[in-house]
Subunit: 337 residues, 2 copies
Amino acid sequence: MPVPKSQMTISDIARLANVSKSTVSRALNDSPLIGKDTKARIRSIADSFHFQLNIPARQLSLRHSHTIAFVIHPFNEEYSIADLFILEIMGGISRGLHSNGYDMLVIHADRDDVGWAPQYLNSHRVDGFILLTSAWKQRHIQTLIDLDAPFIVWGVPDPHYQICCVSGDNFTGGKLATRHLIDTGRKQIGFLGGPSVELEVQERFKGYCSALNDAGRKIDPGLIEYADYSHSSAIAAMQRLLEKSPLLDAVFVNSDLMAIAAMETVRQNGRRVPADIAVVGYDGLSISALSNPPLTTIRQDLPMAGEYLAQGLIRYIQTGEVTRITMPVDLVVRQSA
Amino acid sequence: MPVPKSQMTISDIARLANVSKSTVSRALNDSPLIGKDTKARIRSIADSFHFQLNIPARQLSLRHSHTIAFVIHPFNEEYSIADLFILEIMGGISRGLHSNGYDMLVIHADRDDVGWAPQYLNSHRVDGFILLTSAWKQRHIQTLIDLDAPFIVWGVPDPHYQICCVSGDNFTGGKLATRHLIDTGRKQIGFLGGPSVELEVQERFKGYCSALNDAGRKIDPGLIEYADYSHSSAIAAMQRLLEKSPLLDAVFVNSDLMAIAAMETVRQNGRRVPADIAVVGYDGLSISALSNPPLTTIRQDLPMAGEYLAQGLIRYIQTGEVTRITMPVDLVVRQSA
DNA sequence: CTGAAAGCGCTTACAG
DNA sequence: CTGAAAGCGCTTACAG
């Protein structure tokens, strides 16, 4: 019974199999040059010792690391549930990377520090980066462009550049949410958006307007408010909405976290969800099913998005093709609307 | 203005500085052997080109990767909020690793697959592992022990082995929660635990008993129930508790997620929180502040725990000392109790 | 304090 | 189909 020795090298396997290092290397890498039975024999020897190629040596020789950095910002209390978003997408990224033979390094970078990019790229520590646009605005993207670094983002980047990205279908999301509210008889439908400068938010707003137009309704500025995705900003925005428009009987909110805050605010004002005011959220994080009441929301398949991010980046690294994917969204009807 | 060239090596810097590769290497690694001004000169040249040492080459030469794997399980709907726990602790791990010059690889491993351990260790991809005991039971730990792999766990491991670990002070946590309920005049205080086989849960139960004893009260089996940390199991357990003990007026629940489920169940049974039944949770995840009503809970400083995990593992790798740390806990009083 | 040289463990033209 | 040899870019005794 051979004892696994972690310090074995291909030379050891070569000696054991009576072949050269080259042959072992090729056999282990499944090169078509090696004879079928030679290959099988070498592999079975390697397996019996639980032999694993030394990856740093391989990376040095191949000149790429086969590892990707997923860049996120340090944990922040105010956005904690938004971070659930990160976790759900990260699972998909990890799976997509792994099935292509890549590893995932996660980097927590400060919002205002851009040094991580050259540091990890020039040291050949990673082959590319995955980021979320909402957190990494233009400055970070620009740094990566200047470095000529391979990267892909979640979200809608500045259309100015040809950037790899995958994003949700924000227009359709906004339209589905609003139409559902119209179809269930709501008359004064509010829009509680994320930051109005974000393209995602603008698209969702267009969807909102489109649904309203289709129903022959007017857009009422008194029904529009924006917040910054934090819990407290959502409470404030919902409060403004309630005060501006006493007749409000529904609201489409741009994230599940903010929708939960909005429901709380509604209650605090002595009104009921959904009886008095219906609420539709956005994202479909697993937590949305556990809120009180369970949230009707626009779901994005985040694990799938993660896999697409991984695949898209790898394809870019290997072929130079830039991929731009829009993920479908759907409406999940629960009890808040 | 020098253009950063990612393909530069120490030989290029050596030529530029008119010294040998050895000297460059030593200067960049801050060796005391190199003269102060030579070092400064070399470093400023390197900086001006944004030069970064090739890390895979360095790893190969040094024979360790300076990277640690944080091992988690694939995302699972039922435990999604428990995963918030992961995110909060991960931030701390990342910070602790980074400040010691280590990188963090995250591995999503299937619950029943143990192959990741030899794969990442024998390939010299990582120097050690960080895991959470609750998810990684004996089989995973045993694999690591058999491999003689450096690792550290969050939670209380089998005391049989000398394993690096950091865990919360579960006894004190259980006691603080229960005492708070006693002090606020509750008479029939329930215990809704995680799996009864887990040492953490047993410690929390002991704390519960201890507080009750101190107050001269008896332990009533009709007030004890266990669940498995999932949302649905918590609902079922709370329902049983309510049926067994109609006079129940408080409950100490072993996680924030389960506490939120319990509060929902209380309401579904036509009772109010905290007026009829007070609820205390456990963990102090940021989400506990956002529940309805905001949850009174036992807080563990998870980011700090993450830093200790990182430090403890690095110390073990570098010196062989096994660290066992117990983190303090405290009571956060909000509105649910 | 500095340099020449060997070595870390792979991969891959090149030659057969 | 297989092997000898050079090369990937570092680090570090060893010698001065």
